[in-house]
């Protein structure tokens, strides 16, 4: 059964189309990611799913209930963590948790085992006002609060934005644990590398869904030969490399360069020669690699941006 069913969904703000004919199904027990750059329409989609906004056309069913007519049945069954910090800064960690448990008609005690993983890290600060926590801690508290009534579906809007790398990894580990407790998760993020953590991913840009697949499935859809190039100071040759005749696209990937070739006959040798010809000297380390989901996303996002 699909817990979230998004069908032909469109939503405009004035002349701006925030969402354009979106179709997504999230199955029970899934950790589903909504990946896209800022302004792609992620928050609008999430607010429609959480019954907080109404679509212009199309519909969303959550747990089988329509978000327009049956919003009351959906509310209370879902957990929601908005993109903005949505706790009470003047209440302590413990008070926030107790309050949100109470608001949803639950107690911290009865669902403690569900949030133990998260709350374990917060326990030393339980008497500190929420406003005085670090960014990562705030998000962990918000996650605990969204989870404390054991919702069937947990919906998170960019939980890792503005959080340091370590806390980001910890948050994803927590989401993984929560999923294993049987809770369906629908999470949005602007970080492409986080797509790998999800069971399935929808790639969204400018209000359109560019594809829904598993991270592995996305990677396999990459149609070209891909080379990973490492050389000292290679970024300063970026313009010249992009002007090469077989270059579909070239972009920095960490400290390395990813080179997408349009020529199926391309080999490491032919590429090395081309790079030497444009003046790249010294050791050049080139190997052909399998594309990852990020390579696919970069390709899709660039093409979609060029189309429109």
């Amino acid at each position: 059964m699909s817990y979230i069913e998004i069908s032909n969904l469109s939503k405009s703000y004035g002349k701006i189309k925030a969402l354009n004919n979106v179709n997504i199904n999230v199955d029970a027990g899934e950790l589903f990611g909504l990946i896209g750059p800022d302004g792609a329409g992620k928050s609008t989609l999430i607010r429609i799913v959480t019954t907080l906004l109404l679509p212009d056309s199309g519909y969303v069913n959550v747990l089988g209930y329509n978000t327009r007519e049956d919003y009351k049945k959906i509310r209370g069954e879902i957990g929601y963590m908005p993109a903005v910090f949505s706790l009470y800064s003047d209440l302590t960690v413990q008070e926030n948790l107790d309050f949100f448990a109470g608001v949803f008609g639950a107690t911290v005690a009865e669902n403690y085992n569900l949030i133990r993983g998260v709350y374990h890290m917060l326990e030393p600060f339980k008497n500190r006002p929420a406003g005085k926590l670090s960014g990562g801690m705030k998000q962990k508290l918000a996650l605990s609060c969204a989870l404390i009534h054991r919702p069937k579906v947990l919906i998170l809007d960019e939980p890792t934005t503005g959080v340091d790398a370590v806390s980001r990894r910890e948050l994803w580990e927590l989401l993984y644990d929560i999923k294993h407790q049987g809770i369906t998760i629908f999470v949005s993020t602007a970080y492409m590398d986080e797509a790998k953590q999800c069971d399935r991913v929808a790639l969204i840009q400018k209000g359109r869904v560019l594809g829904v697949n598993s991270p592995h499935g996305f990677a396999q859809m990459f149609p070209h030969k891909l080379y990973d190039v490492y050389a000292d100071g290679i970024w300063s040759f970026l313009d010249k490399i992009r002007a090469l005749d077989t270059c579909k696209s070239a972009y920095m990937f960490g400290s390395n360069l990813h080179y997408v070739s349009t020529d199926d006959a391309e080999t490491t040798e032919t590429l090395t020669n081309k790079l030497h010809q444009i003046g790249l000297s010294g050791d050049v380390d080139i190997k052909q690699i399998n594309a990852g989901i990020e390579d696919y996303f970069i390709r899709q996002l660039t093409e979609n941006a060029e189309l429109s």
Partner: protein, 372 residues
């Protein structure tokens, strides 16, 4: 599983924590009313005590001395000194030495005795017109009394004797004006403005999004938000009545329970206004702005608190009819100062009740169960 009642209690507890942890809010709702009352009481007081006056005496006889003593003894006036000639009059006003100058014509005693008339003149500093006319009136009545006592045999010749009395406020104490006025102002501020701000804060902080998707019903949220302010506003009412009675000697002529019931009705009316503002305003700043301009200014200007409604242009008089404070102020004065019962304020009570019901219905209709 927690049932609905506890969910609501949980919410109210949180609201109290917000208020009692924020020193600024606490000062605003509990200390400011007292300060405001004291400021209105002692600084803007229109009561006249020891107004300085000077005398230009052309008679310099026994009777003119007696008259000056009489004025000084009245308690309203304090003698600054005698002037030498007419040129000193303007100087005395300019220096601010005198608020009133009394000129006594030549030979006061002889003229009163023989001609049954005497010449005197009162000059006041009308740069503050209210005070000037009150002072002139006081001085005149003291002089009449003086003449009447000393020359009672001539009084029969006076065809009409006018004696005016200030009913319900014989001493012309301004506490009768500013205590009810301050009460209205405080209740508007604490209830309407604070609730509208506190509800819009949840919208601004994003917490409203989470509250909306919870099983809490809209009335849980709204009532939970306003309940603490009902308590605080009622405390303010008690403090203001108590201070009015003890510090400013404002009499409590009417039924205290009726008075408190009337105040409670106004608190509910102000709250429903605050809730209505919060359903319209999207941010704290906007809510504050709307409260200021839609509530505070009309309360001060159009409710009859400072300026008498009867003296306003017709258009403003009509406008004052839709100002909730006008009705409360009128009923408040009737009960508190005139000591009348419910029947004499039934119009005011019904209008306020109607307004409250209207705003509550409007708020329920306008309350958004979604974000837009």
């Amino acid at each position: 599983m927690i049932v609905g009642r506890n969910m609501f209690f949980n919410f109210v507890t949180k609201e109290f924590k917000h208020i009692f942890r924020d020193v600024r809010t606490l000062l605003l709702v509990l200390v400011m009313p007292i300060i405001q009352l004291l400021i209105f009481g002692f600084v803007i007081s229109a009561d006249i005590k020891n107004a300085s006056f000077a005398v230009l005496d052309y008679s310099h006889d026994v009777q003119s001395n007696k008259l000056v003593q009489r004025l000084t003894a009245s308690g309203y006036f304090k003698l600054m000194g005698y002037l030498k000639n007419e040129n000193d009059i303007e100087k005395a006003f300019r220096n601010g030495d005198a608020k009133l100058v009394l000129i006594i014509g030549e030979d006061l005693a002889t003229k009163l005795e023989r001609e049954r008339s005497a010449y005197y003149q009162i000059i006041t500093d009308a740069s503050d017109p209210n005070t000037a006319s009150i002072l002139a009136g006081y001085a005149q009545s003291v002089i009449y009394a003086f003449v009447a006592e000393n020359y009672s045999s001539y009084l029969r010749l006076m065809p009409v004797e006018i004696e005016s009395r200030m009913l319900y406020n014989e001493e012309m104490s301004s506490a009768f004006m500013f205590v009810p006025g301050t009460m209205v102002l405080i209740l508007m501020l604490v209830t309407a403005m604070m609730t509208s701000i506190s509800i819009t804060r949840e919208k601004e902080m994003g917490t409203m999004e989470v509250l909306l998707i919870s099983p809490l019903k809209p009335w849980h949220i709204v009532l939970g938000k306003v309940l603490p302010y009902i308590g605080i506003a009622f405390t303010n009412v008690l403090v203001i009545i108590f201070m009015g009675y003890t510090v400013f000697h404002l009499p409590l002529r009417g039924n205290l329970l009726l008075l408190l019931a009337l105040c409670s009705l106004f608190i509910i009316l102000a709250l429903s206004l605050g809730i209505f503002i919060s359903t319209v305003a999207s941010s704290q700043a906007l809510a504050m702005f709307m409260s200021m301009f839609a509530l505070m200014l009309p309360t001060i200007l159009l409710s009859g608190f400072i300026f008498p409604i009867e003296n306003m242009p017709k258009v403003l008089q009509w406008l004052s009819l839709i100002m909730p404070p006008r009705w409360f102020l009128s009923a408040l004065k009737t009960i508190m100062i005139k000591g009348q019962g419910l029947m004499y304020t039934i119009n005011e009570v019904l209008v306020m009740l109607g307004m409250a019901i209207m705003f509550i219905i409007l708020s329920i209709k306008k309350f958004k169960v979604r974000l837009e």
